[in-house]
Protein backbone atom coordinates (compact mmCIF):
# COMPACT_ATOMS: atom_id res chain seq x y z
CA UNK A 1 0.00 0.00 0.00
CA UNK A 2 2.67 2.63 0.85
CA UNK A 3 4.47 1.84 -2.42
CA UNK A 4 1.26 2.09 -4.46
CA UNK A 5 0.43 5.38 -2.75
CA UNK A 6 3.91 6.75 -3.49
CA UNK A 7 3.53 5.65 -7.12
CA UNK A 8 0.16 7.36 -7.52
CA UNK A 9 1.45 10.53 -5.88
CA UNK A 10 4.46 10.49 -8.21
CA UNK A 11 2.13 10.17 -11.21
CA UNK A 12 0.01 13.07 -9.95
CA UNK A 13 3.13 15.19 -9.41
CA UNK A 14 4.32 14.47 -12.96
CA UNK A 15 0.95 15.26 -14.58
CA UNK A 16 0.34 18.41 -12.58
CA UNK A 17 4.01 19.31 -12.93
CA UNK A 18 3.62 19.36 -16.73
CA UNK A 19 0.44 21.42 -16.32
CA UNK A 20 2.40 23.82 -14.11
CA UNK A 21 5.15 24.53 -16.67
CA UNK A 22 5.36 28.33 -16.87
CA UNK A 23 3.92 28.56 -20.37
CA UNK A 24 0.85 30.70 -21.10
CA UNK A 25 -2.35 28.67 -21.65
CA UNK A 26 -2.53 30.14 -25.13
CA UNK A 27 -0.38 32.51 -27.17
CA UNK A 28 -2.56 34.40 -29.62
CA UNK A 29 -1.52 36.98 -32.16
CA UNK A 30 -4.26 39.45 -31.21
CA UNK A 31 -3.14 39.26 -27.56
CA UNK A 32 0.58 39.65 -28.28
CA UNK A 33 -0.12 42.65 -30.56
CA UNK A 34 -2.92 44.19 -28.48
CA UNK A 35 -2.36 47.77 -27.29
CA UNK A 36 -1.16 46.51 -23.91
CA UNK A 37 0.95 43.82 -25.58
CA UNK A 38 2.58 46.39 -27.85
CA UNK A 39 3.32 48.62 -24.84
CA UNK A 40 5.07 45.68 -23.20
CA UNK A 41 6.97 44.73 -26.37
CA UNK A 42 8.07 48.35 -26.82
CA UNK A 43 9.56 48.37 -23.33
CA UNK A 44 11.36 45.10 -23.99
CA UNK A 45 12.72 46.45 -27.27
CA UNK A 46 14.17 49.41 -25.34
CA UNK A 47 15.70 47.13 -22.70
CA UNK A 48 17.21 44.84 -25.32
CA UNK A 49 18.55 47.87 -27.22
CA UNK A 50 20.27 48.91 -23.98
CA UNK A 51 22.20 45.63 -23.93
CA UNK A 52 23.07 45.78 -27.62
CA UNK A 53 20.34 43.55 -29.05
CA UNK A 54 18.55 45.28 -31.91
CA UNK A 55 14.99 44.21 -32.63
CA UNK A 56 11.59 45.73 -33.28
CA UNK A 57 8.11 45.35 -31.80
CA UNK A 58 7.01 43.35 -34.83
CA UNK A 59 10.07 41.09 -34.80
CA UNK A 60 9.98 40.48 -31.04
CA UNK A 61 6.23 39.80 -31.10
CA UNK A 62 6.81 37.34 -33.93
CA UNK A 63 9.46 35.58 -31.88
CA UNK A 64 7.13 35.37 -28.87
CA UNK A 65 4.56 33.68 -31.12
CA UNK A 66 7.16 31.42 -32.76
CA UNK A 67 8.42 30.17 -29.38
CA UNK A 68 5.22 30.30 -27.34
CA UNK A 69 2.79 28.56 -29.68
CA UNK A 70 4.78 25.29 -30.12
CA UNK A 71 5.43 25.15 -26.37
CA UNK A 72 1.72 25.56 -25.65
CA UNK A 73 0.88 22.83 -28.17
CA UNK A 74 3.56 20.51 -26.75
CA UNK A 75 2.11 20.83 -23.27
CA UNK A 76 -1.40 20.17 -24.59
CA UNK A 77 -0.15 17.04 -26.32
CA UNK A 78 1.66 15.76 -23.23
CA UNK A 79 -1.44 16.31 -21.11
CA UNK A 80 -3.92 14.90 -23.63
CA UNK A 81 -4.12 11.40 -22.04
CA UNK A 82 -5.10 13.05 -18.77
CA UNK A 83 -7.27 15.85 -20.14
CA UNK A 84 -10.60 14.03 -19.50
CA UNK A 85 -9.70 13.74 -15.81
CA UNK A 86 -8.49 17.34 -15.61
CA UNK A 87 -11.65 18.53 -17.35
CA UNK A 88 -13.99 16.46 -15.19
CA UNK A 89 -12.38 17.71 -11.98
CA UNK A 90 -11.74 21.24 -13.27
CA UNK A 91 -8.23 21.01 -11.86
CA UNK A 92 -5.00 22.32 -13.34
CA UNK A 93 -2.03 24.57 -12.66
CA UNK A 94 -2.19 28.05 -14.21
CA UNK A 95 -0.99 30.70 -11.83
CA UNK A 96 -0.15 33.92 -13.65
CA UNK A 97 -1.48 36.68 -11.40
CA UNK A 98 -0.97 40.09 -13.02
CA UNK A 99 1.94 38.69 -15.03
CA UNK A 100 1.63 41.75 -17.29
CA UNK A 101 -0.09 44.65 -15.52
CA UNK A 102 -2.60 46.07 -17.99
CA UNK A 103 -1.47 49.48 -19.19
CA UNK A 104 -4.76 49.98 -21.04
CA UNK A 105 -7.39 49.17 -18.41
CA UNK A 106 -11.05 49.36 -19.28
CA UNK A 107 -13.97 50.49 -17.18
CA UNK A 108 -17.46 49.21 -17.90
CA UNK A 109 -19.93 52.08 -18.29
CA UNK A 110 -23.73 51.75 -18.16
CA UNK A 111 -25.89 54.69 -19.21
CA UNK A 112 -29.57 55.13 -19.81
CA UNK A 113 -31.54 57.66 -21.79
CA UNK A 114 -33.68 59.97 -19.72
CA UNK A 115 -35.54 62.44 -21.88
CA UNK A 116 -33.04 63.60 -24.46
CA UNK A 117 -29.84 62.98 -22.53
CA UNK A 118 -27.79 60.03 -21.32
CA UNK A 119 -27.50 59.48 -17.57
CA UNK A 120 -24.57 57.48 -16.24
CA UNK A 121 -25.73 54.73 -13.93
CA UNK A 122 -22.51 52.80 -13.43
CA UNK A 123 -18.86 53.38 -14.18
CA UNK A 124 -16.37 50.88 -12.81
CA UNK A 125 -14.23 52.47 -10.14
CA UNK A 126 -16.44 55.56 -9.86
CA UNK A 127 -18.15 55.69 -6.43
CA UNK A 128 -20.57 58.36 -7.65
CA UNK A 129 -21.99 56.05 -10.31
CA UNK A 130 -22.38 52.70 -8.60
CA UNK A 131 -25.81 51.49 -9.68
CA UNK A 132 -26.04 47.68 -9.35
CA UNK A 133 -22.38 47.61 -8.36
CA UNK A 134 -22.82 44.56 -6.13
CA UNK A 135 -23.77 42.64 -9.28
CA UNK A 136 -21.58 44.33 -11.87
CA UNK A 137 -18.49 44.23 -9.66
CA UNK A 138 -19.10 40.69 -8.43
CA UNK A 139 -15.93 38.80 -9.31
CA UNK A 140 -17.78 36.39 -11.62
CA UNK A 141 -19.57 39.13 -13.56
CA UNK A 142 -16.44 41.29 -13.60
CA UNK A 143 -14.69 38.33 -15.20
CA UNK A 144 -17.13 38.53 -18.10
CA UNK A 145 -16.60 42.19 -18.92
CA UNK A 146 -12.98 42.57 -17.83
CA UNK A 147 -12.09 39.42 -19.75
CA UNK A 148 -13.59 40.52 -23.05
CA UNK A 149 -12.82 44.22 -22.99
CA UNK A 150 -9.43 43.90 -24.63
CA UNK A 151 -10.62 41.69 -27.47
CA UNK A 152 -11.27 43.04 -30.94
CA UNK A 153 -14.72 41.45 -30.86
CA UNK A 154 -16.05 41.11 -27.32
CA UNK A 155 -18.10 37.99 -28.10
CA UNK A 156 -21.43 36.49 -27.16
CA UNK A 157 -20.98 36.59 -23.40
CA UNK A 158 -20.64 40.39 -23.59
CA UNK A 159 -23.71 40.70 -25.82
CA UNK A 160 -25.65 38.53 -23.37
CA UNK A 161 -24.40 40.66 -20.47
CA UNK A 162 -25.56 43.82 -22.22
CA UNK A 163 -29.00 42.23 -22.69
CA UNK A 164 -29.02 41.29 -19.01
CA UNK A 165 -28.01 44.80 -17.91
CA UNK A 166 -30.74 46.31 -20.12
CA UNK A 167 -33.29 44.02 -18.48
CA UNK A 168 -32.09 45.07 -15.00
CA UNK A 169 -32.36 48.74 -15.94
CA UNK A 170 -35.83 48.27 -17.36
CA UNK A 171 -36.97 46.49 -14.19
CA UNK A 172 -35.35 48.82 -11.69
CA UNK A 173 -35.21 52.25 -13.32
CA UNK A 174 -38.67 53.12 -14.62
CA UNK A 175 -37.54 56.58 -15.81
CA UNK A 176 -35.02 55.11 -18.19
CA UNK A 177 -35.44 54.51 -21.90
CA UNK A 178 -32.69 53.07 -24.07
CA UNK A 179 -29.65 51.57 -22.38
CA UNK A 180 -26.09 52.11 -23.55
CA UNK A 181 -23.20 49.92 -22.40
CA UNK A 182 -19.59 50.56 -23.34
CA UNK A 183 -15.99 50.53 -22.10
CA UNK A 184 -13.83 53.51 -21.33
CA UNK A 185 -10.25 52.56 -22.07
CA UNK A 186 -7.73 54.63 -20.15
CA UNK A 187 -3.95 54.62 -20.26
CA UNK A 188 -2.11 53.74 -17.04
CA UNK A 189 1.32 55.31 -16.89
CA UNK A 190 4.00 55.88 -14.30
CA UNK A 191 3.83 59.30 -12.55
CA UNK A 192 4.96 62.14 -14.78
CA UNK A 193 4.19 60.34 -18.05
CA UNK A 194 1.28 61.84 -19.97
CA UNK A 195 -1.43 59.26 -20.65
CA UNK A 196 -3.19 58.86 -23.99
CA UNK A 197 -6.75 60.20 -24.09
CA UNK A 198 -9.57 57.98 -22.84
CA UNK A 199 -11.33 56.05 -25.63
CA UNK A 200 -14.76 54.48 -25.83
CA UNK A 201 -15.00 50.90 -27.07
CA UNK A 202 -17.55 48.20 -27.78
CA UNK A 203 -20.51 50.50 -27.42
CA UNK A 204 -23.87 48.75 -27.51
CA UNK A 205 -27.35 50.27 -27.30
CA UNK A 206 -30.45 48.30 -26.35
CA UNK A 207 -33.69 50.04 -27.17
CA UNK A 208 -36.35 50.26 -24.51
CA UNK A 209 -39.39 48.06 -24.95
CA UNK A 210 -42.21 50.09 -26.55
Amino acid sequence: MPRLRALLITLALVVYGIAAAPIPPSVKKHEVFSESGRDELRRWVEVLHGVGVETSVKELGGQVLAVGQPLTKARQKLLSPFSPLLRLTGTGQRWGLFAYPDTRPQALVVECEVGDRWRTLFRAGDPEHDWASSRLRHRRIRGVWDGVARRKKPGRAYEALVDRIAAWVEAEEPDCGDVRVSFERSHATAPGVAPDPVRTLHERVREAAP
Binding site: P2, A20, T89, W95, Q106, I141, A190
Partner: protein, 305 residues
Protein backbone atom coordinates in the same frame (compact mmCIF):
# COMPACT_ATOMS: atom_id res chain seq x y z
CA UNK B 1 13.24 4.88 -3.44
CA UNK B 2 12.59 3.83 0.16
CA UNK B 3 13.01 7.38 1.37
CA UNK B 4 10.48 8.56 -1.26
CA UNK B 5 7.94 5.91 -0.13
CA UNK B 6 8.59 6.78 3.52
CA UNK B 7 8.10 10.50 2.80
CA UNK B 8 4.52 9.88 1.68
CA UNK B 9 3.89 7.33 4.43
CA UNK B 10 4.35 9.67 7.38
CA UNK B 11 1.54 9.93 9.88
CA UNK B 12 0.28 12.82 11.98
CA UNK B 13 -2.95 14.16 13.45
CA UNK B 14 -5.34 15.18 10.63
CA UNK B 15 -6.25 18.44 12.39
CA UNK B 16 -4.35 20.79 10.04
CA UNK B 17 -5.96 19.26 6.97
CA UNK B 18 -9.40 19.27 8.62
CA UNK B 19 -8.99 22.97 9.37
CA UNK B 20 -8.19 23.63 5.71
CA UNK B 21 -11.29 21.62 4.77
CA UNK B 22 -13.52 23.76 7.00
CA UNK B 23 -12.01 27.05 5.82
CA UNK B 24 -12.16 26.13 2.12
CA UNK B 25 -15.81 25.09 2.40
CA UNK B 26 -16.63 28.27 4.33
CA UNK B 27 -14.85 30.53 1.84
CA UNK B 28 -16.64 28.85 -1.07
CA UNK B 29 -20.02 29.17 0.60
CA UNK B 30 -19.37 32.85 1.34
CA UNK B 31 -18.62 33.24 -2.37
CA UNK B 32 -21.49 31.17 -3.75
CA UNK B 33 -24.43 31.85 -1.44
CA UNK B 34 -24.76 35.60 -2.23
CA UNK B 35 -25.28 34.74 -5.91
CA UNK B 36 -28.84 33.77 -4.95
CA UNK B 37 -29.98 37.07 -3.41
CA UNK B 38 -28.09 38.98 -6.13
CA UNK B 39 -30.06 37.13 -8.82
CA UNK B 40 -26.88 35.96 -10.56
CA UNK B 41 -27.19 32.17 -10.32
CA UNK B 42 -28.68 31.68 -13.76
CA UNK B 43 -26.56 34.43 -15.31
CA UNK B 44 -23.38 32.66 -14.27
CA UNK B 45 -24.29 28.98 -14.14
CA UNK B 46 -26.95 28.48 -16.83
CA UNK B 47 -26.12 28.29 -20.52
CA UNK B 48 -27.97 30.49 -23.05
CA UNK B 49 -30.70 31.52 -23.37
CA UNK B 50 -31.06 31.81 -19.58
CA UNK B 51 -27.43 32.57 -18.76
CA UNK B 52 -24.42 34.37 -20.22
CA UNK B 53 -22.52 31.22 -21.21
CA UNK B 54 -22.72 29.26 -24.44
CA UNK B 55 -22.09 25.56 -24.77
CA UNK B 56 -22.85 25.05 -28.44
CA UNK B 57 -20.03 24.47 -30.86
CA UNK B 58 -18.07 22.50 -28.29
CA UNK B 59 -18.33 18.74 -28.68
CA UNK B 60 -19.28 16.94 -25.47
CA UNK B 61 -19.30 20.38 -23.90
CA UNK B 62 -21.12 19.44 -20.78
CA UNK B 63 -22.07 16.24 -19.00
CA UNK B 64 -24.86 17.75 -16.89
CA UNK B 65 -26.38 20.14 -19.39
CA UNK B 66 -26.21 17.36 -21.94
CA UNK B 67 -29.17 15.85 -20.09
CA UNK B 68 -30.55 18.72 -17.98
CA UNK B 69 -32.32 21.91 -19.00
CA UNK B 70 -30.66 25.30 -18.42
CA UNK B 71 -33.38 25.97 -15.86
CA UNK B 72 -31.71 23.36 -13.62
CA UNK B 73 -28.98 25.89 -12.81
CA UNK B 74 -30.56 26.98 -9.55
CA UNK B 75 -31.00 23.38 -8.39
CA UNK B 76 -27.37 22.57 -9.30
CA UNK B 77 -26.13 25.65 -7.43
CA UNK B 78 -28.23 24.65 -4.37
CA UNK B 79 -26.87 21.10 -4.57
CA UNK B 80 -23.30 22.45 -4.79
CA UNK B 81 -23.88 24.62 -1.70
CA UNK B 82 -25.40 21.66 0.19
CA UNK B 83 -22.47 19.41 -0.75
CA UNK B 84 -20.03 22.09 0.40
CA UNK B 85 -21.87 22.54 3.69
CA UNK B 86 -21.73 18.76 4.29
CA UNK B 87 -18.04 18.72 3.32
CA UNK B 88 -17.26 21.57 5.70
CA UNK B 89 -19.15 19.83 8.50
CA UNK B 90 -17.24 16.64 7.81
CA UNK B 91 -20.41 14.72 6.93
CA UNK B 92 -19.78 11.92 4.43
CA UNK B 93 -16.66 13.94 3.81
CA UNK B 94 -15.17 12.08 0.87
CA UNK B 95 -18.47 11.67 -1.02
CA UNK B 96 -19.67 15.22 -0.36
CA UNK B 97 -16.28 16.62 -1.38
CA UNK B 98 -16.24 14.72 -4.66
CA UNK B 99 -19.85 15.68 -5.44
CA UNK B 100 -19.00 19.32 -4.74
CA UNK B 101 -15.90 19.07 -6.94
CA UNK B 102 -17.83 17.56 -9.86
CA UNK B 103 -20.62 20.17 -9.68
CA UNK B 104 -18.14 23.03 -9.27
CA UNK B 105 -16.17 21.85 -12.31
CA UNK B 106 -19.31 21.38 -14.38
CA UNK B 107 -20.73 24.79 -13.53
CA UNK B 108 -17.37 26.38 -14.31
CA UNK B 109 -17.54 25.05 -17.88
CA UNK B 110 -20.65 27.10 -18.61
CA UNK B 111 -18.95 30.48 -18.45
CA UNK B 112 -15.16 30.10 -18.37
CA UNK B 113 -14.70 33.88 -18.22
CA UNK B 114 -16.28 33.85 -14.75
CA UNK B 115 -13.95 31.13 -13.52
CA UNK B 116 -10.73 32.57 -12.04
CA UNK B 117 -7.47 31.21 -10.71
CA UNK B 118 -8.84 30.98 -7.19
CA UNK B 119 -11.58 28.65 -8.46
CA UNK B 120 -8.98 26.30 -9.86
CA UNK B 121 -7.01 26.50 -6.59
CA UNK B 122 -10.18 25.58 -4.71
CA UNK B 123 -10.94 22.66 -7.01
CA UNK B 124 -7.39 21.36 -6.61
CA UNK B 125 -7.84 21.67 -2.86
CA UNK B 126 -11.25 19.95 -2.95
CA UNK B 127 -9.79 17.01 -4.88
CA UNK B 128 -6.88 16.69 -2.48
CA UNK B 129 -8.99 17.12 0.66
CA UNK B 130 -11.53 14.57 -0.59
CA UNK B 131 -8.90 11.92 -1.31
CA UNK B 132 -6.83 12.60 1.82
CA UNK B 133 -8.22 11.91 5.32
CA UNK B 134 -9.40 15.48 5.94
CA UNK B 135 -12.64 14.14 7.42
CA UNK B 136 -10.80 12.24 10.14
CA UNK B 137 -10.92 15.26 12.46
CA UNK B 138 -13.13 18.23 13.34
CA UNK B 139 -16.31 16.88 11.80
CA UNK B 140 -19.33 14.65 12.06
CA UNK B 141 -17.63 11.63 10.46
CA UNK B 142 -14.79 11.92 13.00
CA UNK B 143 -17.24 12.26 15.87
CA UNK B 144 -19.19 9.19 14.76
CA UNK B 145 -16.02 7.12 14.35
CA UNK B 146 -14.23 8.12 17.56
CA UNK B 147 -16.82 9.74 19.83
CA UNK B 148 -14.78 12.95 19.84
CA UNK B 149 -14.86 16.04 17.61
CA UNK B 150 -11.05 15.98 17.60
CA UNK B 151 -11.28 12.64 15.83
CA UNK B 152 -8.47 10.28 15.00
CA UNK B 153 -5.13 10.75 16.72
CA UNK B 154 -3.18 9.78 13.64
CA UNK B 155 -3.73 9.60 9.87
CA UNK B 156 -1.54 9.65 6.75
CA UNK B 157 0.16 13.03 6.32
CA UNK B 158 0.51 13.01 2.52
CA UNK B 159 -2.54 15.23 2.05
CA UNK B 160 -1.03 18.10 4.00
CA UNK B 161 2.36 17.57 2.39
CA UNK B 162 0.81 17.78 -1.09
CA UNK B 163 -1.14 20.87 -0.06
CA UNK B 164 2.15 22.54 0.85
CA UNK B 165 3.58 21.51 -2.55
CA UNK B 166 0.50 23.03 -4.20
CA UNK B 167 0.94 26.32 -2.34
CA UNK B 168 4.62 26.45 -3.23
CA UNK B 169 3.76 25.86 -6.90
CA UNK B 170 1.08 28.56 -6.89
CA UNK B 171 3.31 31.24 -5.41
CA UNK B 172 6.55 30.30 -7.11
CA UNK B 173 4.94 30.09 -10.55
CA UNK B 174 3.06 33.33 -10.00
CA UNK B 175 6.51 34.85 -9.38
CA UNK B 176 8.25 33.14 -12.29
CA UNK B 177 5.52 34.26 -14.69
CA UNK B 178 5.80 37.88 -13.70
CA UNK B 179 7.73 38.64 -16.87
CA UNK B 180 6.07 41.99 -17.44
CA UNK B 181 8.87 44.56 -17.19
CA UNK B 182 6.84 46.59 -14.69
CA UNK B 183 7.72 43.99 -12.04
CA UNK B 184 11.45 44.61 -12.52
CA UNK B 185 13.93 47.48 -12.24
CA UNK B 186 13.77 48.08 -16.01
CA UNK B 187 10.08 48.88 -15.54
CA UNK B 188 10.79 51.03 -12.46
CA UNK B 189 8.96 48.54 -10.20
CA UNK B 190 5.74 50.16 -11.39
CA UNK B 191 3.55 47.03 -11.56
CA UNK B 192 1.38 47.62 -8.52
CA UNK B 193 1.06 51.32 -9.34
CA UNK B 194 -0.37 50.28 -12.74
CA UNK B 195 -2.60 47.59 -11.21
CA UNK B 196 -4.01 50.15 -8.78
CA UNK B 197 -5.02 52.36 -11.74
CA UNK B 198 -7.20 49.58 -13.15
CA UNK B 199 -10.85 50.39 -12.39
CA UNK B 200 -11.83 46.75 -12.91
CA UNK B 201 -9.81 45.52 -9.93
CA UNK B 202 -8.66 48.48 -7.84
CA UNK B 203 -10.81 49.34 -4.87
CA UNK B 204 -9.76 53.01 -5.07
CA UNK B 205 -8.55 53.56 -8.65
CA UNK B 206 -6.50 56.71 -9.01
CA UNK B 207 -6.16 56.84 -5.22
CA UNK B 208 -3.31 58.63 -3.55
CA UNK B 209 -1.04 55.72 -2.69
CA UNK B 210 2.50 57.12 -2.92
CA UNK B 211 4.44 55.76 -5.89
CA UNK B 212 7.39 54.82 -3.64
CA UNK B 213 5.14 52.57 -1.56
CA UNK B 214 3.82 50.78 -4.64
CA UNK B 215 7.42 50.31 -5.82
CA UNK B 216 8.34 48.78 -2.48
CA UNK B 217 5.31 46.48 -2.48
CA UNK B 218 6.04 45.45 -6.07
CA UNK B 219 9.57 44.45 -5.07
CA UNK B 220 8.27 42.73 -1.92
CA UNK B 221 5.72 40.74 -3.93
CA UNK B 222 8.36 39.48 -6.36
CA UNK B 223 10.75 38.54 -3.54
CA UNK B 224 7.96 36.84 -1.60
CA UNK B 225 6.75 34.79 -4.57
CA UNK B 226 10.21 33.73 -5.74
CA UNK B 227 11.20 32.80 -2.20
CA UNK B 228 8.36 30.27 -2.12
CA UNK B 229 10.84 28.09 -4.02
CA UNK B 230 12.88 27.90 -0.79
CA UNK B 231 9.97 26.62 1.31
CA UNK B 232 10.59 22.92 0.56
CA UNK B 233 14.13 23.40 1.92
CA UNK B 234 12.70 25.07 5.01
CA UNK B 235 10.40 22.09 5.58
CA UNK B 236 13.30 19.72 5.10
CA UNK B 237 15.22 21.64 7.79
CA UNK B 238 12.15 21.56 10.01
CA UNK B 239 11.92 17.78 9.77
CA UNK B 240 15.51 17.72 10.96
CA UNK B 241 14.59 19.86 13.95
CA UNK B 242 16.45 22.92 12.70
CA UNK B 243 15.11 26.21 14.01
CA UNK B 244 16.18 28.04 10.84
CA UNK B 245 13.60 26.18 8.75
CA UNK B 246 10.79 27.03 11.14
CA UNK B 247 11.88 30.66 11.37
CA UNK B 248 11.99 31.03 7.58
CA UNK B 249 8.56 29.39 7.26
CA UNK B 250 7.10 31.68 9.93
CA UNK B 251 8.48 34.84 8.33
CA UNK B 252 7.29 33.69 4.90
CA UNK B 253 3.78 32.89 6.17
CA UNK B 254 3.58 36.27 7.96
CA UNK B 255 4.57 37.98 4.69
CA UNK B 256 1.89 35.97 2.87
CA UNK B 257 -0.77 37.03 5.36
CA UNK B 258 0.31 40.68 4.98
CA UNK B 259 0.26 40.38 1.17
CA UNK B 260 -3.27 38.96 1.11
CA UNK B 261 -4.59 41.46 3.65
CA UNK B 262 -3.07 44.22 1.51
CA UNK B 263 -4.82 42.80 -1.55
CA UNK B 264 -8.11 42.60 0.35
CA UNK B 265 -7.83 46.27 1.34
CA UNK B 266 -6.71 47.70 -2.00
CA UNK B 267 -8.25 45.44 -4.62
CA UNK B 268 -11.66 44.08 -5.46
CA UNK B 269 -10.75 40.46 -6.22
CA UNK B 270 -13.62 38.76 -4.43
CA UNK B 271 -12.64 35.79 -2.31
CA UNK B 272 -9.12 35.49 -3.73
CA UNK B 273 -7.19 36.78 -0.69
CA UNK B 274 -9.39 34.95 1.82
CA UNK B 275 -9.43 31.79 -0.27
CA UNK B 276 -5.63 31.67 -0.35
CA UNK B 277 -5.43 32.26 3.40
CA UNK B 278 -7.90 29.38 3.90
CA UNK B 279 -5.15 27.04 2.66
CA UNK B 280 -2.51 28.36 5.07
CA UNK B 281 -3.15 25.99 8.02
CA UNK B 282 -1.51 23.33 5.85
CA UNK B 283 1.82 25.09 6.50
CA UNK B 284 1.62 24.09 10.16
CA UNK B 285 2.20 20.68 11.68
CA UNK B 286 -0.79 19.63 13.82
CA UNK B 287 1.44 19.69 16.91
CA UNK B 288 2.14 23.39 16.26
CA UNK B 289 -1.59 24.14 15.95
CA UNK B 290 -2.24 22.22 19.18
CA UNK B 291 0.51 24.13 20.98
CA UNK B 292 -0.88 27.45 19.68
CA UNK B 293 -4.41 26.51 20.80
CA UNK B 294 -3.06 25.52 24.21
CA UNK B 295 -1.23 28.86 24.54
CA UNK B 296 -4.44 30.74 23.67
CA UNK B 297 -6.40 28.69 26.23
CA UNK B 298 -3.81 29.42 28.92
CA UNK B 299 -3.91 33.12 28.07
CA UNK B 300 -7.72 33.19 28.25
CA UNK B 301 -7.71 31.34 31.57
CA UNK B 302 -5.12 33.72 33.03
CA UNK B 303 -7.20 36.75 31.94
CA UNK B 304 -10.43 35.39 33.39
CA UNK B 305 -8.91 34.63 36.82
Amino acid sequence: MNAWVALWDRRESPISLALVRILVATALLVDLLPLGPLGLVEAVFAPAPLGLGHLDGRPNAHELYGVLEPSSATALWALLCAALAAFGAGLFTRASGLVALFLYAQLALVLPLADRGIDMAFRNALLLLSLAPSGHALGIDARRATGSWIGHASAPAWGRQLMVVQLVVIYFLAGVQKVGLAWWPAGDWSALWLVLQDPAVARFPGGDVPYRITQFTTLSTVVFEWSAGLLPLAFLYRYRQKALGTAFRNVWVAAGVALHLGIAVTMNLGIFPWGMLALYPAFFHPDELRAAASRVRTLCTARST
